[in-house]
Symmetry: D2
Subunit: 335 residues, 4 copies
């Protein structure tokens, strides 16, 4: 590949060595299929340990599938899910929630740096339901957010409160939960603030696989059938589970995320353009005009303008300090 | 694992060394995501070469997803797909065609050893459409069949003819196409007898990934968006494509399938119970009563009674002659 | 219209005078839309009185919509509904349950004269659920059946018992409930044996409208939104409700059904061909070969061969004794 | 009913005498069901005559169903429909397009008085499609608009042009098409500017029924099955068709709409509050603060604040000059 892709996203990175090694390590014998294997059991245990929670844990192929299946599990088609207007489910999943959720609605709210405002959530829920609209009946929240901000447990609890009061369910998109944790977020709060969680593996250094964590007991019933119908109960399930074993058993998941976060901070410090959002996870957003972005592209760096109009630079476990410094150098030449 | 799983299915096997090696081999640099990477391009080229056909080739996570997305692409909700009553889409996918196809119907036909009868297909199509029923408007055919039989190109052409005459589409479930090819079936006929093909990787020695091959140009439009919405456009697509590179570039796919087929023939020859279906691929079906099956289970061999009432023994790339002989010995002790 | 349609179905009849009169009667003022009008309230009260039950009552445009919405309300897409193989939802609704139910499955059982066998229902429910199949998780029962047989309250209770034991829901398709009631069935048992009921208006002498009766409190939540999304919350709702007022307020619903049933018995007594099913409601099924049916068609009588191979003759509120006698005469000339 | 509902909407009115009379007129004989009756044929002919066009014409129960089925017919789930942000399909149908369209997207655009801007439509279509978003692939336009504005044939042609250039389909929501026609719009242009049309009956003085007009030949295939599966192929179809016969055969449809439009103009002229949108159809929108609206409600007039913040007054065929004058008087007392 000519060109520099490493800041285009955290999914352009290879898999971390712990993930790849685990694939090979568990490849030496016959095992029951469809998740009844010891690798899936071990990975589920590690996820439960990471979250210090009782939960059913499934491993699925993509974050889009995981999110959409989760939303379909907690909503009916005439419900709407409250989410940030720039949440991945609203902007980057081609309507997957509607496909899996049979037309369920998204109730998009604004908020700084991808964060929802508890008052706005409460207000959306307090409006009288009306037969002619899909009424907000669930919450989807993303941590770390699309803009690299991190919610604290207290902030999540405040968002969750008006839903808890009404007995309504909460989904957490944790595609970058590892980055939030590396930034100080305690994942052990999650069983209290959400009913269903997507714990990202892909962006955290895995091969394509995400953990779908079902805390709420009422949602667990026949989840295997739900996944199978959705094409997400893989036969050779060990290969979805193995990278989680590799990443979780010695702490690589958070360690790699901490590295990615550090690289983002290093880039932010060297950034000659204004930085727009708090750099709490692995992303840096810079205010660059079109001419500057074009020069950066011309110099071979693949990054893109994001929904808020700024340019996103995303670090990963595989981003090297040298790459950050080279990028910073290139940016300085352009600024 | 205690117990002997290796004849329970061909998805209980590990991945073949070529597939695992390819995962590691393509893990050393940053690459564009969502299928724009050189590994996906290389794998698609190899698939096209294998089929000697122009086609768009996508790599998805599971056979259930691949089949259901394919059927949704060729049918509308008020259509029905003609398929064998024991086809995987009818019996083992938890209604995935209906979920992805928004209620599309399945029009199940009987036939020996999982094979459809061309006259029955033609008859189903010739009935006048009626607003109150989902009318047959597409065909799904499986090669090798669930019972280990293999269609010839001529047989497929005969099945396809009444659909071709009416401009109706055809899906081929090739979860075990490699076994059919190893048995003499020429895959180069496929672009003529179907519009969309699922080329199985998982059961052929891969990690979880299937190739979705779109021959028909009219179906190719925005297939990436279709897959993304269905949760099947993975970001780190290289890891879905890599096993196909490993399995296709030096012929391992068919070589492994030939081995699996040979193991099935070896088992069939040694089988003390009546063998029910032609052993043309990697499966042996034996007529065993409940007492015999219980004794086999008690001896630690995990196999199960299939839909036709016989007991299925499935071989894979990883089945050893020794295992076959041990199983045959165990069966003789039981018979 | 040349030809004699009156035995083709009970939906070829005009509306009964009470229904038409009610449409005109409630057409003289402005009223709130979407069911908040006094006609809808009055009709709902009459339905509750007819059933002697607490329930939410909605009026929808067609039986197919009513059934499909009801099934979607009680099932998830990975569930299957147990039903008779010849139930209207299985054979005559073009897959509407799958469309509204997002791919939900139908688990068809055989049984004489359209009746389900309690032992077969219990057996279907007792099989272990399996991720790869849509497991039976609800029951749909039709009274009177498609073959004109009528369940007693005790028979329905026996069917319901294994679902009640498991907390699973029950739908009753009452497209011809009026005929069952006219045959002696007590509708006051229904709140105990089902969770959701479709009370047919169209075939009972109404204009196109059916009552959707939701007994189970947990299902009532936002049913208005569910209907609106399904295109079944009409603005001028009074016109769906009015025929029910006309038919229920002075007993016309059952009185007309009793007439239809009597016409069926009159026909059965005069029938020169073997009568196949019990004549407990408004249908007569006769065993006629193709030559005989052709002669009947040639004589101008529109009736058709049904799923069980016999020929169906359906009476309605509008069937006259003279028409029955003329048909009987024609049949005698053919036999 | 206490209170004055007559300006709350045009669906609070009774049916016009021509519609009710037609229901009774066609109620005197047996007729084939499911649209094969002579009343449906006659109504379809009258619709074709009204539009001066070749088309398949179906009669369905509600505008929401008609719109959603039309959109599902012209889009795939990964497509988005361009529509005005305040179009009925976007704001008042509880996500019905997503339910019937299996998650299809809505691409909402702003524009004055409910009208779309051709440049904005063209711009939306000219953006490169991107797998991660539902790309605009169809247009839905409403005439008259929700704000009582009327497009001219030339304006519709300008909106349609960029879709026609790309071979993309167009839906027209004509819930108030009669009002547009009464305002001078020539309905004979419609076969050129759209592929599928909903011709409103309910708001035009009918009982609940809308005509679904399929101009585009490729969309006509098995439309009966599409409707049946959607619960919209009524058995006693004559009762959906009859009001259209009554309203169309002597011009009552447009005559009543002209009256409704005249009442709106009369109200606009007497309106003491600022009128916000052009009064080209049967609606008047007035700028009233909350205190004024409360006083109006207290005086017994049921009207509501609309999406743009103004208060909507809707006239119908049944609105009398006296009622307009009484309302105007009441408003003057409040202003």
């Amino acid at each position: 590949m000519s060109g520099r892709y490493e800041f285009a996203s955290d999914n352009v990175a290879p898999a971390a060595p712990e993930a790849i090694a685990a694939l090979a390590r568990f490849n030496d014998e016959f095992m029951p299929a469809y998740g009844a294997d010891p690798v899936s059991a071990r990975a589920a245990d590690l996820v439960r340990g990471f979250l210090d929670a009782d939960a059913d844990v499934w491993f699925v192929a993509s974050g889009t599938a995981a999110n959409a299946i989760a939303l379909a599990a907690i909503c009916r088609p005439f419900d709407a899910v409250i989410a940030h207007e720039h949440a991945h489910i609203c902007t980057d999943e081609t309507g997957a929630p509607g496909l899996f959720g049979h037309g369920l609605g998204l109730h998009a709210l604004k908020g700084p740096s991808g964060k929802l405002d508890p008052a706005a959530v409460a207000k959306a829920l307090s409006r009288p339901a009306f037969a002619h609209r899909q009424a907000p009946a669930a919450l989807s929240v993303t941590n770390a957010t699309e803009y690299g901000a991190v919610y604290s447990p207290e902030e999540l609890a405040a968002l969750a409160a008006p839903l808890r009061d009404r007995g309504l369910p909460i989904h957490l998109d944790g595609a970058r939960l590892a980055n939030a944790v590396a930034s100080g977020f305690d994942p052990k709060c999650l069983s209290k603030v959400c009913d269903i969680l997507v714990l990202g593996g892909t962006k955290a250094g895995g091969t394509p696989a995400e953990a779908l964590v079902v805390f709420e007991p009422a949602l667990r019933h026949r989840f295997d059938a739900r996944l199978k119908q959705a094409g997400q109960l893989p036969s050779k399930a060990r290969f979805y589970a193995a990278p989680f074993v590799g990443l979780l058993e010695d702490g690589a998941l958070v360690r790699h995320a901490a590295h990615a976060n550090a690289m983002a901070r290093r880039l932010a410090e060297a950034m000659p353009f204004p930085v727009r959002h708090p750099v709490e996870a692995n992303a840096v957003f810079a205010e660059m005009d079109e001419a500057a972005l074009s020069r950066l592209h011309a110099a071979g760096w693949f990054v893109h303008r994001f929904l808020d109009g700024s340019v996103r630079f995303m670090c990963s476990w595989a981003t090297t300090p040298e790459a950050v410094d080279e990028l910073a150098e290139a940016l300085k030449g352009i600024a």
